[in-house]
Symmetry: C2
Subunit: 295 residues, 2 copies
């Protein structure tokens, strides 16, 4: 998969041409912009007001847009000759009154509210369809910057034990079983027991709840593994599972022993800081070879 992505970056993904990066919060938009530049593309940030880091945005060619201003995004992107768009970074869900909806967004309402996150493939695909209908090509951040994807094997020195590998297998099987329901991308398994299944709360919140249950002595099993995998029906251009240093910290606070994600199907934010955090917290972080469904 990485092979074909990389070749796409080098071939039909528009070497030398501008690329629009619709930027939410966190460090990923800048990592993607830098990677795009390394791959000889000219990044233009469409920074989401109230989400993107203003100080960092300032050092890139950029425009500010409000969440929900889809027509404005289309106009600005056309003016900048950005035929390709990437959506990246997290978005704190706004209240409806905070949203500045323009006509394009109104056409999508209420789908636009959960545009970036929220476990809704259907909705995200709606946004993708809308933009493609307007002549844009939507690329996954991993297509523009394959280096942000989780590699196969461990990050850092630790590796899962045999019994932890069994827990990982159980977690993957569970995620596969619920993949058709467009629900969470993550589960926690410890000693053969499923401790948590992610749904609307998101990974960070799920881990925080688990930490609280552990503190109250309500969890019997010790250790445990956070398993993340892309959903079956997921549009990988818009919504890949992501881990970062705060995921490692959250998992450590929940008393887990490590994190296992699907290699090539998971974005890693701040890989080096993640590695350091994992070492300090004595956690393993491992990328699993992706199982392809049979023919």
């Amino acid at each position: 998969m990485k092979g074909s992505d990389s070749s796409r970056v080098g071939s039909d993904a528009g070497t030398g041409s501008p690329i629009g990066i619709v930027s939410g919060a966190g460090s990923l938009p800048f990592a993607v912009a830098d990677a795009a530049a390394r791959h000889n593309r000219h990044p233009v940030l469409f920074a989401l007001r109230g989400c993107a880091n203003a100080e960092k945005v300032a050092s890139y060619p950029h425009h500010w847009i409000g969440l929900g201003q889809i027509n404005l995004l289309c106009r600005l992107a056309q003016r900048e000759h950005c035929a390709d768009l990437v959506f990246i970074g997290s978005v704190v869900r706004p209240t409806l009154s905070q949203l500045r909806l323009d006509l394009g967004a109104l056409a999508l309402l209420p789908r636009v509210v959960g545009m970036f996150r929220g476990g809704d493939n259907h909705l995200l695909s709606g946004v993708a369809d809308f933009l493609e209908h307007r002549g844009f090509r939507l690329l996954g951040a991993h297509e523009v910057a394959p280096e942000i994807l989780m590699p196969e094997g461990p990050i850092g020195r630790r590796r899962p034990s045999e019994s932890q590998r069994v827990d990982i297998g159980l977690g993957l099987a569970l995620l596969r079983a619920i993949g058709q329901f467009d629900v969470g991308q993550a589960a926690v398994v410890a000693e053969g027991h499923v401790l948590a299944v992610e749904a609307a709360e998101g990974t960070d919140e799920m881990l925080a709840q688990l930490a609280s249950l552990r503190q109250k002595g309500r969890i019997r099993s010790s250790g445990g593994v956070l398993v993340k995998a892309p959903k079956l029906a997921q549009d990988r251009r818009i919504d890949l599972p992501t881990i970062g240093p705060q995921t490692v910290l959250g998992a450590a606070r929940a008393g887990l022993a490590g994190i296992a994600v699907v290699a090539g199907g998971t974005i890693v934010a701040e890989a080096e800081r993640l590695r350091q955090t994992a070492e300090r917290e004595h956690m393993f972080v491992v990328g699993l070879a992706e199982e392809r469904p049979g023919p």
Copy 2:
């Protein structure tokens, strides 16, 4: 199913003979004791210290035992000629230092820690096996007191709408898909989206978290349905899903529109108070005809 249970109560379930009711917290142990007496059995409570309601226990023939005192339970039950045992009521999980483990319990350690609850069929079956090996028969509370089971159809006046029925179907399908993983008995679905899947946290905690996510504006869909169903592999003698007035309150706080459970496969605590609470909170509570797996 109710028919065959009732006939069992009347025939081989030991009419007139004593029955031991191992009693945790809540009102259910007394409901079961009263029902057993109505069915011409002589209830003896083995009240779990720190769990069972002492004031109410006092009005029944009873012995107090500590959680983990399985040998003591066996001795007392033999002395009282209780060949049949029922486990009922919730157990606040003790810390290991609070547990007074006797020799019988040590044989089961660490399985005994989660004896009553905690989503572990395997473990619960282990306790059942242990007691049956010692010559006892373990009965489900619903076998002794079929009147505590959820009936088919609505409790109270409200019924689910067509779209809520679709959400219920989605929830049931999800629970069926994860049934093999010995995970939660409950899920929340709203407008076609799975908002929560119960695992180690339990139903009350899951609903509380959902209420908090709703308050933070992090949930897009409105309304929603709590769906509960017994696990596929569940030993129904020991661990049936339960709802009570506090489930209705929790669901109301989470902004849900109603509760759907499998009729005949769910215990209802304080049915009349549950009905009143549902009416006051404008919620529906409905028992679904159980789908039997095909031949």
